[in-house]
Symmetry: C2
Subunit: 557 residues, 2 copies
């Protein structure tokens, strides 16, 4: 009597791989071909230009670049390898070439020297591994897609890499071939749902890493945090205990919500081995747009007929140029008021971002050159209604000069093309040189001030200082590129950026987490009482400190 | 340049009172007039009928009805009272008449015997009080609106009642006169936002209690859990430490999300003293409906013109009668598909509920008698679009017989009238006699099966067995009334209800929490490993166990 899919859903259970990272592009594997031992002239700089960007510059060992001391964990012995072979037969990787990709982050800025990578398939295997490591005092680095931004997903020294790449079964549904976010998205979309998150790194990041790092991304504005959409988790604790909180209920107020401890803890409190996540219904299927295969440029004076009810498909998006940041903000206010509940993304990027994706990736902007660009996406259930709302909105903002030029994409491939301009900025930056990355939450009115202040402060020391990000969430991605890593540039950036952010009561890590690189600056966003309680939680859940050591929390003196 | 209200918001900071409760009606104070010491013939039954329901039957002491032993906390001395008087001068309540209302829950089922109630105004005062109690080993019961369903908000023995009723300032805005949820709602609505939650108890529950118990309520379907909408908390820990996590940022991934520990922990891990919460924009203001001052009855054959775009205001709601539970489910599927993102509530109630609100509260149903009723609310940004969607939906469900009769309310007072039918069920039940209350999450297909099975099982032992609740969230409120409390009826209900629920992998407390009454049955929804970790967290945060003892976690043997 009752359509099963709708009623059984929107809850899906995924068994997959844990990670503590996110944020890469599908280029990752291509880039990970450097030899294992850095040569003496290792510079760490990507030399820029598309033609040379796929070269394999050496990456310095993390322990050589950063001031960090190995903790007194045991060293993996032949006996340990034999024990692992008994737990996960045929899935103990010690081949240096295979280990290379797992020891270096995709940004090519940090490098561990792990000698062994394990590939468990089940929570029971993870439990056996951790019980063993706990007993032997061996440190463990959980790893999913290795797409993190802050060095959280690769070892700092010789930690055992616990890869979850083979934990990719969908529980209770037909099997799927992997739990890469993009594959999961396709899987649920085939069943008329969507994943509640979407990231630039979707081609390689893992859902487990997304949860372990509380990833934000492109749909946050509409579907909110993973803290609300993750319904249940299965987690293996440091001593091997399997904690089954894998409910798929929408509501459950029975005791403390333990799963929240592990969401966003970056693999330092437990290894997430299964996730149950709430998937919103897929926006309604539609007819092909009258606007045809290409984006249609809109200018002031656009009439409503251009976007008549019958002519726009669902999840259309628009790219528009704004003459200044105040106009970006006013366009956002107008947008929230006029698009309301169908608004699903409001992203911005500055002119330098557009130049970089053009230069390094040969992507071309379909709108006139502007100081700022905004990308707006809607998703709703009423094709005609959504089109009418978007049309009225665009008329308004073009009419009053908030936007000087714009394009709407309704065809799937054009929608992808517009999104690529925004999603591939990170990749373009990596090709520009060494990248200093900051991911900051700020009051939205002050979001861009830091970018302009830094340009003045750094002058010619920096190649580019760019700002882009999830404006709708108050989240700025501030990136500075240089030919190579330089301590003096770093000194000009830090602690200046953190102090500026703290002065605004902002967050020094909006969505990227702390990982290895930012753990020392947690104090800019959290008071000593909070740090103290975090250390107590770590000590309670992982008393020997074997889980992802040197990450998230500051080193204890 | 930028409209401040829109950009500064949607984040609001509230300083208010903590609590660990929710779910009452504004009748609470009227009912709380019983004398302090239960007489020998205390029966605990409300004798039913409106004419007698405001009488003051005695409520037995919790420690007499339930098997519970006082833990070895200190007893409040004259010296303690003098110390409290120094901390909160003039706000130390020891008058028995004033203590009465705070010692008994609004359902009149549990009673403590606290001799003192404190009314701090600031987090600093809360901190001083807790530091003192921690040193003296005095137990503390945080209390907000005292509107809980599971005995979590009143003392079990002589715990000090820490009332947060005077902590009601809105931070950074003009002062408001209280932090009752309903008052906050009015406050933010005046500023064009709404609170992301709404409860039947809104007239007396406190926002602090809502957060401390992770309240669900009527807008959960649309705006999700408080775990997603609460942005920051200030909490005073058991030893008096003030933990400032009162950020108002949408995104903040700096370390473990400590505030999640306190959301839903029912006052057992810390006392929440301030909340920052994300408020969605208020659905657009509108013109008065053509449908006039009264709800308009809809029958099969309704034409679209009845709900023409210009004639319906925002947040219209509809009440409809369904011939059976399968039709309730199919109507829900249809509703989700056709109303999509504007659907903000889908509630159901059975015929017995309607009879009870009619009998005890003299509320009359505007639709024909039916086995089931559903109440549907929409809220969106496009007046005409929303009306058109609702109209198409109603045409569809009436046309195919899923719904046999319905009414739409668009006028504010009629909307309130329809909501009262649903929101006041709990009050009607209390007037019907002693109420056995269960609040269960289940797979939606099986949601009503437990109600029909119980009717058969209990036979004439029960006065009424009713089912209603938040169908859209898979949340059933199952209530059984009897003339008086009876151990044999309790024996027929428990553990049967819990075992049945566990058999479906449901939750034995969807939104009411565990409080005092359900703490012993946590194990039906959580495995031993989870219980163990919860106990460890309690021991870490409150090593002396002084915060809301005898609540949430099972007694330790």
């Amino acid at each position: 009597m009752v359509p099963r899919l709708v009623l059984r859903s929107p809850v899906w259970l995924f068994r997959w791989q844990v990670a503590c990272t996110r944020g890469a592009s599908v280029q990752q594997r291509t880039w990970a071909g450097a030899s294992r031992t850095p040569g003496p002239d290792s510079t760490l700089a990507c030399t820029g230009g598309p033609s040379t960007s796929l070269g394999t510059p050496e990456v310095m060992l993390t322990c050589e670049r950063y001031s960090v001391k190995r903790l007194p964990f045991s060293v993996v012995s032949e006996q340990d390898l034999a024990a692992f072979e008994r737990i996960v037969p045929g899935r103990v990787v010690t081949d240096p070439a295979e280990l290379e990709a797992a020891n270096v982050d995709w940004l090519r800025t940090v490098r561990g020297c792990s000698q062994v990578l394990l590939r468990p398939r089940t929570a029971e295997e993870v439990s056996h591994i951790l019980r063993y490591c706990h007993g032997r005092n061996l440190a463990v680095n959980p790893q999913g897609g290795n797409t993190g931004m802050v060095g959280g997903s690769v070892p700092v020294f010789d930690e055992i890499i616990l890869s979850t790449a083979l934990m990719n079964q969908v529980i209770g549904f037909h099997s799927v071939s992997g739990c890469i976010l993009e594959e999961l998205s396709r899987y649920v979309e085939d069943r008329d749902f969507i994943m509640p998150l979407d990231l630039g790194a979707k081609g390689s990041c893992h859902i487990g890493g997304n949860v372990a790092t509380n990833a934000g991304g492109l749909r946050f504005l509409r579907y909110g945090s993973l803290r609300g959409t993750v319904l249940g988790l299965e987690v293996v604790l440091a001593d091997g205990t399997v904690l089954d909180c894998l409910t798929s209920l929408r509501k459950d107020n029975t005791g403390y919500d333990l799963k929240q401890l592990f969401i966003g803890s970056e693999g330092t409190l437990g290894v997430i081995t299964a996730v149950s996540i709430l998937c919103p219904p897929r926006p309604r299927a539609v007819n092909v747009a009258f606007l045809g295969g290409s984006g249609v440029r809109l200018r002031s004076g656009l009439t409503r007929s251009l976007l008549a009810p019958s002519c726009v498909c669902l999840r259309p998006c628009a790219l528009a140029g704004c003459p200044g940041f105040p106009e970006v903000l006013q366009t956002f206010s107008t947008c929230k008021g006029m698009l309301g509940e169908i608004l699903s993304a409001y992203e911005f990027m500055d002119a330098e971002c557009m130049q970089l994706v053009g230069h390094h990736l040969r992507l071309t902007s379909p709108v006139q050159e502007s100081p700022f660009y905004v990308l707006i996406e809607t998703s709703g259930s009423g094709v005609a209604h959504d089109a009418e709302k978007l049309s009225s909105f665009l008329e308004r903002v073009l009419g009053c000069g908030l936007v000087t030029d714009g394009t709407v994409a309704t065809d799937h491939s054009k929608v992808k093309m517009l999104w690529a301009l925004r999603e591939r900025i990170s990749e373009a930056l990596s090709r520009d040189g060494y990248v200093y990355k900051y991911d900051i939450s700020l009051p939205v009115e002050r979001l861009y001030d830091l970018v302009t202040e830094l340009r003045t402060r750094l002058g010619p020391q920096a190649k580019h200082v760019v700002g882009y990000g999830h404006l709708g969430d108050g989240n700025l991605h501030l990136n500075v590129t240089a030919e190579a890593f330089s301590s003096s540039l770093l000194g000009a950036l830090e602690p200046y950026v953190y102090e500026w952010t703290a002065g605004q009561r902002g967050s020094i890590s909006a969505e990227h987490g702390l990982g290895f690189k930012k753990r020392g600056v947690l104090g800019y966003s959290k008071p000593p009482e909070a740090l103290n309680l975090m250390q107590q939680l770590k000590a309670l859940l992982d008393p020997k400190g074997i889980l992802n050591p040197y990450k998230t929390l500051p080193a204890q003196s």
